[in-house]
């Protein structure tokens, strides 16, 4: 798949621990500090690509035994997916405007150790407009909708279409799903991703993520 992309290395071997923007993050979320300082140093690489066919951008982090790929998703793609199901117009627009990324997480097994990789999205942090917070998760979204907002069948699409909040991957396992960040189309943000390898906490930063623009902004 990657050969269809124009590839540009933007962060090979780079980590942001200790940099000034991390300092901002820690001031905003002091609890994060202790956890991050304990994390195992890692050799992280973030590859940024642009799909020549559709112009969508992707960010691909490879670190230890994990690979995390985030691919922009146009708000119209999200509308198209959910319009097939019994969601209210308000909910479809809420989802479309929530900055969704197609997300692929894989245990590459690169180390050969056979270790498990566990991901807990409740621990991921995003920095946007000077604040640090968690990403949108499917459980509160589902709980916020009445049956008029989303039928039970429609809720199944969100239940299985959005990335699992917690998941463990053994070598060779991978999953696809949507992650959502709750910032407007076109907005930029940094993402601190965390995971564990055989219960050892790890983290890395993906800087300069950009939500796909809405149709009225497409050139």
């Amino acid at each position: 798949m990657t050969d269809r992309y124009v590839q540009q290395v933007v962060g090979a071997g780079h980590r942001r621990l200790g940099e000034s923007d991390m300092g901002t993050s820690l001031r905003n979320g002091g609890v994060l500090l202790g956890g991050l300082l304990l994390m195992v140093p890692a050799c992280a690489g973030v590859r940024h690509s642009v799909n020549e066919g559709n112009g969508l951008r992707s960010w691909d982090l490879t670190d230890g035994d994990i690979e995390i790929e985030l691919i922009q998703r146009l708000p119209d793609q999200t509308r198209a997916l959910f319009l097939k199901y019994a969601f209210s117009r308000e909910v479809i627009e809420q989802l479309a405007q929530s900055c969704m990324f197609q997300t692929i997480i894989r245990n590459t097994g690169r180390s050969g150790s056979g270790q498990a990789v566990a991901v807990d999205l409740t621990r991921w942090r995003m920095r946007h407009a000077g604040t640090t917070r968690g990403i949108l998760l499917k459980e509160p979204l589902l709980a916020s909708w009445s049956d008029a907002d989303a039928s039970p069948a429609a809720k199944l699409v969100v239940r299985w279409g959005m990335f699992p909040t917690q998941q463990t991957f053994l070598p060779g396992d991978y999953n696809w799903g949507l992650t959502a960040y709750g910032v407007p189309p076109g907005a930029a943000f940094d993402l601190e991703v965390t995971w564990s390898e055989d219960d050892r906490p790890r983290s890395a930063s993906i800087g300069g993520l950009v939500c796909a623009p809405d149709v009225d902004r497409l050139k």
Partner: protein
Amino acid sequence: MTSCPSVRVFVLLWCLSVAAAHAGQLLTPVPGGVVAPDFALEDSDGRSYRLSDYRGKTVLINFWTTWCPPCREELPAMNRAWRSLAGDDVVFLAINVGEDEDTIFVFTADYPVDFPLLMDHAGEVIARWPVKGLPTTFIVAPDGTIAYRAIGGRAWDEPALLDLIRGLGQ
């Protein structure tokens, strides 16, 4: 780097260990003899399938949807695997989660599948299986316990994987 023999040996050993790990990545063994949750579901033609009716056979259970990219990607290989295992008393049941007959019918025009595609309209069956994301596939041994699982797609027609499935019935 290649001028240093010890480094060359290390690189060789590392490559061998990665290759060995890759061989083990085909499917993940499920220990403990967990009994596969029984279900009864219909396909789009109204035929009913009950898992417990296949006791004594190896059964592949695949949870999928039409809008899941890796589900679509693995189905052709899964169909080839089904054909390869036709004489081995192995049953394939693919369980669609939450979609209707029309959607599945249109989908199979582009992705022909010869084994049964069952419909879990309300997501009641998948809720009783240890599934976090789609696709997830389980191999149920002839004794009714879950022997292996795969999170994400696989190249199901790989000979090593076919041998693994065949081996359960022997």
